[in-house]
Point group: C2
Chain length 188, copies 2
Amino acid sequence: MALDHAILVSLLEKPGSGYELARRFERSIGYFWTATHQQIYRVLGRMVADGLLLVREVEQQGRPDKKEYSVAGPGRAALAAWLHKPIEPESLRHDLAVKIRGAAFDDPAALIDEVERHRQAHRDRLAHYLAGELRDFTGPDAPAPQDAGQELQHVVLRGGIAYERMTIAWLDDVLATLHRLEAAGPGA
Amino acid sequence: MALDHAILVSLLEKPGSGYELARRFERSIGYFWTATHQQIYRVLGRMVADGLLLVREVEQQGRPDKKEYSVAGPGRAALAAWLHKPIEPESLRHDLAVKIRGAAFDDPAALIDEVERHRQAHRDRLAHYLAGELRDFTGPDAPAPQDAGQELQHVVLRGGIAYERMTIAWLDDVLATLHRLEAAGPGA
DNA sequence: TCCTTCTATGCAACTCGTTGCATAGACAAG
DNA sequence: CTTGTCTATGCAACGAGTTGCATAGAAGGA
């Protein structure tokens, strides 16, 4: 249950509501983990019941009240325990790769539009990451690196950037292959 | 339910038993999709019930009998339908990245061993992929590329190779960052 | 003979994750 | 004053995926 741990990390970086967490999971944390708001609310409830988190009702002006969550002592201990326990290297789940191999039993050229769409999505994500890097780490207005947290956030972001660049290059390779197969003749 | 489609592709490439599929999912198909044997058996049963697959009892010598599955007409149609339907670009689930950000609230240097272990696992996987590429595609004994299926399998494998290379380089970056933080002094 | 390993299949229980739906306060535009 | 959008929270149902357990044939070694 790594979502628990992702929530603990995010709340240690900054306490917030379920709604705010859901938005973070679309952004920075979402570089390497995704979660819907329903899932987040459910897990938050369970973690409070288990004593890992604290809740505080916060009245707001101009918007509905919210519940602000923060990490309790046992939550921090649970995170530390997880950090010291080895985990398995993750394995990929890449639908598009399944499609590419499946295309051998259909029309490979019909996949070109789909692959180009994915390529564009990865280009957009890369641009978004690079803008975030400039804003938070390498740009003129970025805060000077002072604490370990910032260094670590940056190296994770660099991982996201490297992943997107690699994926775009691979999709170019895929497109070249599909075009070659198309030129060689459908049904060859 | 992309496991269904991964199974259809694998069985179109070559019919086989649940056990054989489980082993393929630890190898070639497993480059981009994973599944345990329990999940595979369950899905196979459902797909036969839905008329997507055919089963055939096969008696064997020197080992227990098996059930060989192959793709039925409706299965092929279902795969074609999925191939023509756009899918969402996938998002990552990277536990190690969560740990790296979480290390800011613990001892970053304590993560070094774990990261090195992952790096080694990725080096092993890369070596395995490269050996497979040499054997099946680029080596002197590899069959000449004749059909689209081989080209497509190769481009997917190249994706796996690119992913492992990128990951190893990133983990080197992570290790350098962790060492730098360690040198800067614990608790800085 | 017993133990282990490999092949081969499967059930049951559980947790994780997704989808659809529902509610509600605050504000802005038409 | 209705509609739409953004903030904010949540339930219910379902499907996907994991974990633990169980069985059994065949082979080889201690």
